[in-house]
Each structure stands twice: as C-alpha cells, then as structure tokens.
Amino acid sequence: MEKTFNIILTGVGGQGIITLLQVLDEAALVEGYKVKSSELHGLSQRGGSVEAHVRFGSEIFSPMVSVGQADLILALESLEALRESVKAGKQTKFLVNDYFLPFLNAPSKEEVISKLKALKNELHLVPASQTCKDKLQKEVVCTIYLLGYASNKGLLPISKASLLQAIKNVVPEKYRELNINALNLGYVD
C-alpha cells in the first residue's frame, strides 16, 4: 500500500472507542504498517461526541486525518456518523453502526438515517450493537464486530489474522474470547 490509509472513528463517550483504537493500531502494526493515532480524554468523554483518528502506511507524520482525506469513517452511532460526514471526501466509505442515541433537541432517527442514505458515499449501515446484544449478550463488543465486518468487506486493508493477533496482544485475557467471537461474527454477516 503506497498511500496512507486514513480512518476517522466516531461515536459517543463510553462506547468503547479507545479499545477499538488500540486494537486497530495494533492490527495495523502487525500487518506491517507504520501507524499513528490521536484520541481525546477527559471532558470530551462524558457522554459527548468523541472522535479519534488513525493513520497507517509507510510513513506517517501527523496522527490527524485532514478534512476530505478519510478513506473510512467508522461510526458507532448514526447521528455522529452524520455529524462527521462533513469531513468526508468523495472516496470516503462509511461503516455505521445502526444504533441511535438520542439527546435533547436531536433530530429523529429516521431523519438521520435518510440523510446518511442521501450521501453520495458508499454506506454500510450495520446493526452491530443489536447483533452483538443478541448473539453475544454484550453490546460493547460491537466495535470489534465492526472491525471484522470492515476487513471482510474490503473496507479496511487489514487481514483477519492481523486483527486476531491484535486482540491477543491488546485485550486483557478475561475479555479475549468475547472479542474474538465478536470479530468472527463480523466475518459471518
């Protein structure tokens, strides 16, 4: 891969974006890339919008993805996907968890989804939270499910073997099996 691969992760504080970021960073490293990522802690975490950036390739300077440069926007929540869409370029693909967390004065779920569908970008709207809740009884691993999905559908240039290795390297043993199950599930759907 000659060009740097740029990902913006978005969601709501508490959805597990940092763990997702750690697994993704590690997987890119296992795959043989140089990787840099940027995240925010503190005030921005308390149920507010959260955004993290990941870039991997042959040489990375800044961890931040410039406006219009994302290859993939991976959103854990649909309204946050829509919010992030202003930073998309023509090539940006969207992988969106079909999960809606309303708040005061927020537009309706239907409005958000229809606006997402109206975007000219490739969109994958996947019920990751629901699937993980139904099949694994844990919504929070929807992050890893989405990584599996992205890898399987060619939205992410990282192999399953690297993702598996990354989970083994990063996730505490207690939760390892659950995360591997979520990853496998992402390859099934």
């Binding site: 840099k36 940027s38 802690h41 503190g42 300077f61 931040m64 406006v67 829509l82 927020a106 537009p107």
Partner: protein
C-alpha cells in the same frame, strides 16, 4: 523493545529508563495517565519507601505541594518526575521560581500538559511556555510519541548536567497520540529509592543577598544550557539540502503538521525543528536563516518563538521576513491544512481549502453520568433557590452544572475559585449566593477561601459534593478516601471536621443512602442556611456512580 504506546505512557517509560525514584503530581487532562500508570506500577507490590526496587508515587493535594514534595526529594538525592496539566504550573509557580534559583540536587523533570483548542480545559487556552521566560527554566517540547520517551530522558540528562529542573511541555495531540516506540525496558524498577538530605543552607535557602548571587549563577547556567542546545539533536533541520529561499521553524505538533503540509503541497522546503523552546539555539536559528528571504514560524497558540526569531534575526542583521501569527491563528491547535494555507500565502503556491458545510446538528454535550449523585443535587438547588440567587461553580464533574439541562452557574473559573468569588459577591451585594465544589477541589484549594469567608464575616452557602474520589480526571485518590495512590491505608480526612475547624458553625452532612430522602434533607437544609448570617456548609456525601459500579465488579 518496540511497542505501541500513548505519548504519556512513553513519558513513563522514559522516566523509568532514567531511573526516576519519586513521582508526584495532580491529575488533569492531558497529563493524568502519567501518575495513574506510576500508581499502578508502584501499587503492584506496595512496599515502604526506602526499599530497593520501589518507586515512591503520590497524588499530592495540589500541584504546589506536588512540586514541593519533589523539591524535597531532589534535595535528598532522588530523581523526580512531577506531572500536571497546564493550569497546574500556575498553582505551583510560587515554588517554581525559587527552585530555578536554588537549582536541583538530584535531577527533576516537570511534565506540563497544555491543551490547545481547550478539548478538556475550561478556564483558558493557556500556553505554559511563557513560564520559561518567567522562571528561567529550560523547556523542551516533543513532537511525537518516540520523542515523549527520548525527551523525558533528555530532560533528566539536562537536569543532571546543569542542576536545573527541566520542563517537558507536551500538548494534547502529542500526549494523547499512539505510535510505536523503541524503548529500553531493562532498567525498570531496579533503583534504590532511599535518599539522604545533606544540609546545604547556602544552596537550598533563598535569602537576600544570596538570592541575587543565585540569579547570577542561574543566568550563567542558562548560557551553558544554550550551548548544549546548539549541539543537541533535539533541534534538527530536515530537507537541509534544498536551496529554497523559504524556510520553516516549527515546534511541537506544529512540526508534524508542517511535514504533512509540505507533503500535501509537494514542496521541498527546509524545516528547523526546535526541540528546545528555552533556551533557544540562537546560532542554529541564525545559520538556518542565512540566505533565506522568508521564514515561517509554526507554533501552536502564543507567538513566543516567532517573536524570538524576529529579535534574533534583527540582532544578526539578517533580512528574512518572519511570518507567524499573521498567517496562522493564535487560537486553537494547528493542523496540516492551516499550515498549507500559511505556506500558500507566503509562497503564492495555490492551495484549495476544503470547505466544510454546516449541517446545523445540535451539539451532543457532555453531561453527568447515569446515576451520578450530582443529579440529586443540582436540580434541587436550582428549583428551591429563590429567584435571583447567584450560583458559583467550580472545576471537576460539577462543571456540568454550567451546561444544559442545568445551565445554572453564574461564574466558573479555576480550582477553588468559585468560593473565593462567591465571598466577594456576597460582601458586595445583598443577593443570596450558593457556591458549589467537589471533594477533590475542596482539598486542592477550597480550604483557604473557606477560611477567608469565615474570617471576613461573609455568608455564602457552600455545597460540597463529596463523591468520595477525584472523578473527573479518571478516578484518582484524594485525602478524603483513606487510601494513598499506591493503595496504602492512610488517615481519612473528614471534610466535616475540617470545615468545623475552619470556624463554620452551620454544617450539615447529608449521607442518607435513600436518595429521595437525602434530596428532601438537602432541600430543607438549603432553605434554612440561606437565611444564616454566617458561612454555612452542606456536605452531600454519596459515592461516584462509576466508582460504585466498579467496586461491585
């Protein structure tokens, strides 16, 4: 070994590799992971201070006591690391300035986490580099995660060589960046921590006329450190071979954004990266500027380097035009696009800014967590306070009181400042004033304004939200918990006892486990206290919901 680390984790590794023995700090964003990681390492096998292979770690009650603890350690021969966020340096500055004069005995690195764009900082977009000039202390600034490791080691090296404290100034995008780091794990936890204080009044006491001698010594040291900086690899030039008439001088995140911008624009322009912010390598800057007609300075927020470069070039009679804040905003962090725009303005090379369309989506603002005990308090206060009541807020989780759905604070400043201001408002008006703060803030800087209010016959109603931990910054221990950061049992300081000892006569602690009952109690107490002629304090004691859930696991 090589591993992906967070910038702050790399600082921890760098300090360990340097043989750090004493770590103190006060949590904040973006610095808290440093103390947290050290606390985790130190509590893995809690032993008493003095045993071989153990690091002493503390969350101090504030940044001033943290620095002073490290000064004591340094004078006793222990290598120390002090960690805090931007505003922490304001709190500890009173002891920082004399420390520059006395110098350190054992090396000391002070980590300051600045937060351009105020991602997790309310009170100001502080550029702490200004303290370098004020305190005359070397400041070094890493640009990436590997440098977080390397520069921590460099900081200890400079401190050891010149007996000065060194500030490692890191910004959010570096501290909270992850990347692979090449680090040395061999020397971790192998040093002895028992120090010995060898009295040296001549060196450790600032007292005139000695103070002025110390100042002269410090100025001499700074000259030597400047020579060291001239030779240091921390300052380096990239794209040196090009004969471009244009050059960029950059620091911190501004440097990586410059490299990114040059790649985007397909330009090959030499860049001088400054790892040393203070003292600046003047000769290196002059050599770099020779033969150039234009110099762009890329630094985040305040134009310190820009002003210094202008002065240096003027003294050297070099004619290059220096650009900086005229082409990159002084507000907010830099990014590649902002640097592209700046370069475009200087070179005339076209750059199309990607327009961001506005969707008009409402902000998803941060809020109190589900089950947070503050939900029992803030709405009650807002509902029962008579119209016109003034509310003072403070730093910590209670800051959410400034946001919807509460929207109730009339002023919000710095740690402990809410009560200080409330007293002034109370003395100046006949309005009712309720001042709110958390337990962490009370211990940090809430006691002095309470004493001031009592002593000066003021009468605000103070509500202390005691959620049994310093929560906002990620759950750090405080003196109200009976536990040290290394997990040892210690004296549990009771807020009620302290408040009474400060002379407060109207004190009520509400810790009824039944939430609705506690809210009724709160309501009647506030009504009663609002009519008092002396200071009154309500302590609403209920554990942080996240902590409670964690304890159940």
């Amino acid at each position: 070994m090589k591993k992906i680390l967070l910038g702050n984790e790399a600082v921890v590794r760098g300090a360990l590799a340097s043989g750090v023995a004493f770590v103190s700090g006060y949590p904040g964003c973006p610095s808290a992971e440093i103390g947290d990681e050290f606390a985790r390492l130190a509590s893995r096998a809690p032993r008493s201070l003095g045993e071989v292979g153990q690091i002493y770690v503390e969350w101090s009650v504030n940044e001033k006591t943290a620095l002073e603890a490290a000064i004591g350690a340094s004078f006793s021969g222990l290598k120390s690391l002090v960690n805090m966020k931007s505003f922490g340096i304001n709190v500890c500055s009173d002891s920082l300035l004399p420390l520059a004069y006395t110098g350190t005995k054992a090396p000391m690195v002070i980590f300051i986490g600045d937060d351009p764009s105020c991602w997790s900082s309310a009170q100001s977009e502080q550029d702490s580099r200004g303290y370098a000039y004020l305190a005359k202390i070397p400041f070094i600034e890493p640009t990436n995660v590997q440098e977080c490791y390397d520069f921590t080691k460099l900081g200890f090296e400079i401190s050891e060589k010149f007996n000065v404290p060194v500030v490692l100034r890191v910004t959010t995008r570096v501290a909270h960046q992850r990347a692979e780091v090449d680090f040395d794990e061999e020397r971790i936890m192998k040093q002895e921590v028992r120090g010995e204080f060898v009295p040296n009044k001549h060196q450790f006491s600032t007292m005139p006329p000695r103070t002025l001698e110390m100042k002269a010594d410090l100025l001499k040291k700074l000259k030597k450190i400047e020579s060291f900086a001239e030779k240091s690899k921390a300052n380096l030039i990239v794209n040196k071979s090009t004969s471009s008439k244009i050059g960029v001088v950059a620091s911190g995140a501004g440097y990586v954004n410059t490299l990114e911008a040059l790649e985007i624009m397909g330009l090959n322009i030499p860049v001088l990266k400054l790892g040393f912010f203070y003292p600046l390598p003047k000769k290196k800057i002059i050599d770099f500027a020779k033969g150039k007609s234009k110099i762009l300075v890329v630094e985040e927020t305040d134009p310190y380097i820009e002003k210094a470069v202008k002065e240096i070039l003027k003294d050297a009679q070099l004619k290059a035009i220096v650009y900086g804040k005229d082409v990159i905003s002084e507000i907010g962090e830099t990014n590649a696009e902002k640097v592209c725009v700046a370069i475009s303005k200087i070179t005339g090379k076209k750059f199309n800014v990607t327009k961001i369309k506005q969707l008009g989506l409402p902000r998803r603002i941060a809020r109190l967590c589900e089950g947070c005990p503050y939900w029992n308090v803030l709405p009650v206060l807002k509902r029962i306070a008579p119209a016109g009541t003034i509310f003072g807020g403070d730093i910590g989780c209670n800051m959410m009181g400034a946001l919807p759905p509460h929207d109730m604070y009339d002023y919000l400043f710095a740690m402990g400042a809410g009560l200080g201001i409330s007293h002034g408002v109370k003395k100046s008006t006949s309005q009712k004033v309720i001042s709110i703060m958390g337990d962490g803030t009370f211990f940090h800087s809430g006691i002095a304004p309470l004493i001031n209010a009592v002593y000066n016959k003021s009468n605000p109603v103070v509500v202390i939200l005691d959620n049994r931990i310093t929560a906002m910054t990620g759950h750090q221990t405080n003196p109200g918990m009976g536990k040290t950061s290394m997990g040892q049992d210690t004296t549990e300081l009771k807020i009620e006892d302290i408040v009474k000892a400060c002379g407060v006569k109207n004190v009520k602690t509400i810790d009824n486990p039944n939430a609705p009952e506690s809210m009724k109690e709160l309501e009647s107490t506030v009504k009663d206290f609002l009519d008092k002629e002396e200071v009154s304090v309500i302590i609403y004691k209920r554990i942080c919901a996240l902590l409670a859930r964690r304890q159940q696991k």
